[in-house]
C-alpha cells in the first residue's frame, strides 16, 4: 500500500489526533498523556500489586499502533538506526548515542512529570481546553526545545 509510505498531510494527521483527544474525554473525561503513560508504567513497576492504570494500556496501544503501521507499510525492521541522528558527530559512536538518548529521556521524564504533562498532555489535550497551565507549559517547552536545538546546531552537535 503505497499511500501508507507517504507522510500523511498535516491537515489530515492533526484533525485525526484531535479526534482521539476528543475520544479520551468522551470515553471517560480523561486527558491522554505521553509522559503520564510512562509514569503509570513506572508506578506499576514500583508497586505491581496496586495494578496497572489504564494509561499503561494506552502506552501499549501506542506501541501496537506503531507496529501495525510498520507491518502494513512494510517498513518494520529491528535496528538501532535512528535516522539523521546517526550522521551527527555524537551519533557515530553507539556509546554517545545511547548516552544522549538516555539523558534526553531522563530530562523529558523528569521535566514533564514535574510539569504535569508533555506535548500530548499539555500541548494537545490541555491546550484544546484552553487551560492556562497547559498553554504556558506548551509555549515554554516549544520555545526551549527550539532554542536548545539551535544552540546544539550552532555548536556543531546537532
Amino acid at each position: 500500500m503505497d499511500a501508507l509510505g507517504t507522510q500523511l498531510p498535516w491537515f489530515v494527521a492533526g484533525p485525526l489526533l484531535g479526534l482521539v483527544v476528543v475520544g479520551g474525554y468522551w470515553v471517560g473525561n480523561q486527558t491522554l498523556g505521553g509522559v503520564g503513560s510512562f509514569a503509570a508504567l513506572q508506578r506499576y513497576f514500583a508497586a505491581p500489586r496496586e495494578g496497572a492504570s489504564w494509561r499503561v494500556y494506552f502506552l501499549g496501544g501506542l506501541i501496537v499502533g506503531g507496529l501495525v503501521y510498520a507491518l502494513l507499510s512494510g517498513t518494520w525492521s529491528a535496528s538501532f538506526a535512528y535516522g539523521g541522528f546517526d550522521q551527527l558527530a555524537v551519533g557515530a559512536s553507539p556509546w554517545t548515542k545511547a548516552g544522549l538518548l538516555l539523558g534526553g529521556g531522563l530530562l523529558m521524564g523528569l521535566g514533564a512529570k514535574h510539569a504535569g504533562g508533555c506535548t500530548l498532555g499539555h500541548g494537545l489535550c490541555g491546550s484544546a481546553t484552553l487551560s492556562p497551565a497547559s498553554l504556558a507549559a506548551t509555549c515554554v517547552f516549544m520555545g526551549t526545545a527550539v532554542a536548545v536545538a539551535h544552540v546544539l546546531f550552532f555548536a556543531g552537535v546537532l
Binding site: A13, V22, G24, G61, L62, G66, L110, A112, A136, L152
Partner: protein
C-alpha cells in the same frame, strides 16, 4: 477504560507513525524551524479537539465509562509548569522524540528508543522521588 485506552492508543500511535512524527528527522527539522509540518499538525489537532470538545459539552454528552457529563476544568499556572517544561524541552531537543512517539518507535522496531524510554522511566521515578522522598518507592527503608 483499559480497553478504550488501548484502542485510543492504537489509533493515536498509527497516525503518529503515518505522519512520520516518530522519525528523528521530522523532529529535527521541526525544532530547527526548517519544516512547519509538526506545528501545523499540532495546531490543527488542537483546533479540532477544541471544536469537538465544545460540541460534546454543548450536546450534554455523557462519558461512556461512568456516565458523567463530559467536562473539564482549567488549571492555574504554577511554577512547576514552567520549570518542568524547560527541562522537558531540553530533553526533547536531545532525544528527537517525545514520550508518545518513543512508544511508537518501539513498535516500529526502532530500538534506539529503548534508551530514550529507559531514560523517561528513570526521569519520572526521579521526579517522584524528589517530590516525595519516602513514599515514592514502597518498601525502601530509610537508613538514619
Amino acid at each position: 477504560m483499559k480497553l478504550f485506552g488501548a484502542l485510543l492508543g492504537v489509533v493515536f500511535g498509527f497516525v503518529l507513525a503515518w505522519a512520520k512524527v516518530s522519525d528523528y528527522d521530522t523532529i529535527r527539522s521541526m525544532l530547527l524551524l526548517q519544516d512547519p509540518y509538526v506545528f501545523l499538525m499540532m495546531g490543527s489537532g488542537v483546533a479540532t479537539a477544541f471544536v469537538g470538545l465544545r460540541l460534546l459539552r454543548k450536546a450534554g454528552a455523557t462519558t461512556v465509562v461512568g456516565s458523567a457529563k463530559v467536562a473539564w476544568s482549567p488549571s492555574r499556572i504554577e511554577r512547576r509548569h514552567i520549570t518542568g517544561s524547560v527541562v522537558f524541552g531540553a530533553g526533547w531537543a536531545l532525544a528527537g522524540a517525545c514520550p508518545g512517539p518513543v512508544a511508537v518507535q518501539l513498535g516500529q522496531g526502532r530500538f534506539a528508543a529503548v534508551f530514550t524510554g529507559l531514560g523517561i522511566l528513570g526521569g519520572v521515578a526521579l521526579a517522584s522521588w524528589l517530590a516525595h522522598p519516602r513514599s515514592a518507592v514502597p518498601g525502601v527503608v530509610q537508613v538514619r
